[in-house]
Symmetry: C2
Subunit: 353 residues, 2 copies
Amino acid sequence: MTRVRAMIRRVARSRGSTIVDVAKLANVTPSVVSRVLNEDPTLRIKAETRTRIERAVEMLGYQPNHAGRALRRSRSDVVGVLLPDITNPIYSGILVGIEQCARDSDYVVMLGNADEFSRRPQTYNRLLGGGRLDGMLIQRPNDLDDTRLSRLLDPGMPTVLLNTTLPGTPGSVIFDDWRAAAAATEHLIALGHTSIAHLAGPPAVDSARRRREGFEQAMEAAGLPIGPSAIVHAGYGSDGGREALRDLLRAAPEVTAVVVASVVAAIGALGAAREAGVRVPEELSIVALHDVWMASYTAPPLTTVRMPLRELGETAMRMLLERIADAPPRDEVIRHPAPQVVERGSAAPPRAR
Amino acid sequence: MTRVRAMIRRVARSRGSTIVDVAKLANVTPSVVSRVLNEDPTLRIKAETRTRIERAVEMLGYQPNHAGRALRRSRSDVVGVLLPDITNPIYSGILVGIEQCARDSDYVVMLGNADEFSRRPQTYNRLLGGGRLDGMLIQRPNDLDDTRLSRLLDPGMPTVLLNTTLPGTPGSVIFDDWRAAAAATEHLIALGHTSIAHLAGPPAVDSARRRREGFEQAMEAAGLPIGPSAIVHAGYGSDGGREALRDLLRAAPEVTAVVVASVVAAIGALGAAREAGVRVPEELSIVALHDVWMASYTAPPLTTVRMPLRELGETAMRMLLERIADAPPRDEVIRHPAPQVVERGSAAPPRAR
DNA sequence: CTGAAAGCGCTAACAT
DNA sequence: ATGTTAGCGCTTTCAG
């Protein structure tokens, strides 16, 4: 009994107890403790021994050392998430889903900056290589083309791409961008608009291309022409949206409505409209893709198409776990819940300007 | 030569090369390689041997295994960051600073959810304990009082608290909340306002208390009375701000200006003003604490007091590194750059409503 | 200037 | 139903 107390005291003082301490206290060998803790299905053990072990674990406050485990199993139970800009509510929304799903699967998330990663790969390889990660989730930076992205990826590292596809490299999860853009366009058409423009994302980004296609298809399906200056490419950022709308108002004054590829750009566009003295929605209707809390608080509140951010993150994480478990890579499109128009104040029937 | 080629091939195939592979290829022992790579200052080595080792590292693309290192050194070079809500631009702004500083110091950041942490400590202890982290950065959830926070903290884990202090537990970094709130108040006073209210944060949160004190001091210094309903406590969230302003407009119609404890709440307040038909800034001036990109895009654009989010993150991270290196804990207030009023469109001289 | 040896904490194959 | 053994990859005395 004194021995036990002494051990407890020693352990409390030091860095923590080891599996050997637990084993001694429970009068078994470390291997048994390990197998109990890891719920080895092949293990046959007396109920009494098991409780002795559990009590010992409890008493010592034992926590397995992750480094020891990782070294032995060659797995870290850590995934890396590389995002260009956590400050962007779209990305952080996705990150919430990732973190949640990781936690539920006893994984933990390491955060990295995707821009830095593409700029200084050696830095991040040193930091995140060397067995620190079991897999990676990557959101492609806007200015990173396929060739450079391919070069960056480690073929030996299970990887899932967020919001983007890479020809020849399966393992990506994207939104139903076509449907979302089409839904936005259809909403405007239903309101009676016939001269509709599109503030697209960066031309080189594949999600922007898909959204543009969705816009074009919806217009075509309705038999509506797309004016020569009706598609303006811009960044996904707010400044991009602001400048793009400014250009559009000048180049195509007949336009009564616009589908914006991202809420963040749409918030910028709202600013440009205000500066130009164009009233929204009276003179110009705006529908934006992606729904974030700020959309309820702009003036006027933005009508958006909601995309399931959390679900994308969850799905991506689940897919990564499959890949880590050696399943073959596959691509996935998040279709449920389907992109849904959230009517607020920025879209209304057309009225001449 | 063939031996070398064979080794390279073997290594490329498998999980990666080890320090032993490098040592063999360079005709030295692992210990020398280790000391070269870790820049052991006591090491005396022939220049030629050193280049041989460097070449071997290069050829094999050797990366030290983090688990092995961590196990041996009892340090992981990982810090945990616990945030209540990454979706909040304030927190993600701070996180940017943390990640940057960590990377520059060869540390890497593990992300966790502070709300979940306070709700299910065992989960996170299992995930983040066991030597996985060298230290933690924690943003206190709004509803977590001192007692419960203390209980949650592991006294053996170097910890830095973000935006909050904990009596009896030094190691926190906060903004100059008094100065920021005072600056906002003084700005309104300079514009000629005399009946000024304060939308404060949650009453139990210490940063909210400091901001309220800053407001009160500035009012007192100007000889201005604070009306009986002029201080309304609300959450830091947008809904909180909306409701709080609604209440305020009813309870204190004489108020011509308001200092809001957080931009996010201010955006909500802007919504409430619009709904109530109160024009900003003509009938009501608003100044918000914290500056984020959205503030430029509200209607009207928000006048704010800029707080150095990135700097807080950086400082906190640096402080944590000190603590990890066994420096005694200390508290710090970020005073530079000082809180600065960013004039946009939401504050103007008073006019009767 | 370099090598030998021990051990960090854990798991898994193989005994008994 | 439990024990023995070996070794994951690395760093760090201590020897030479």
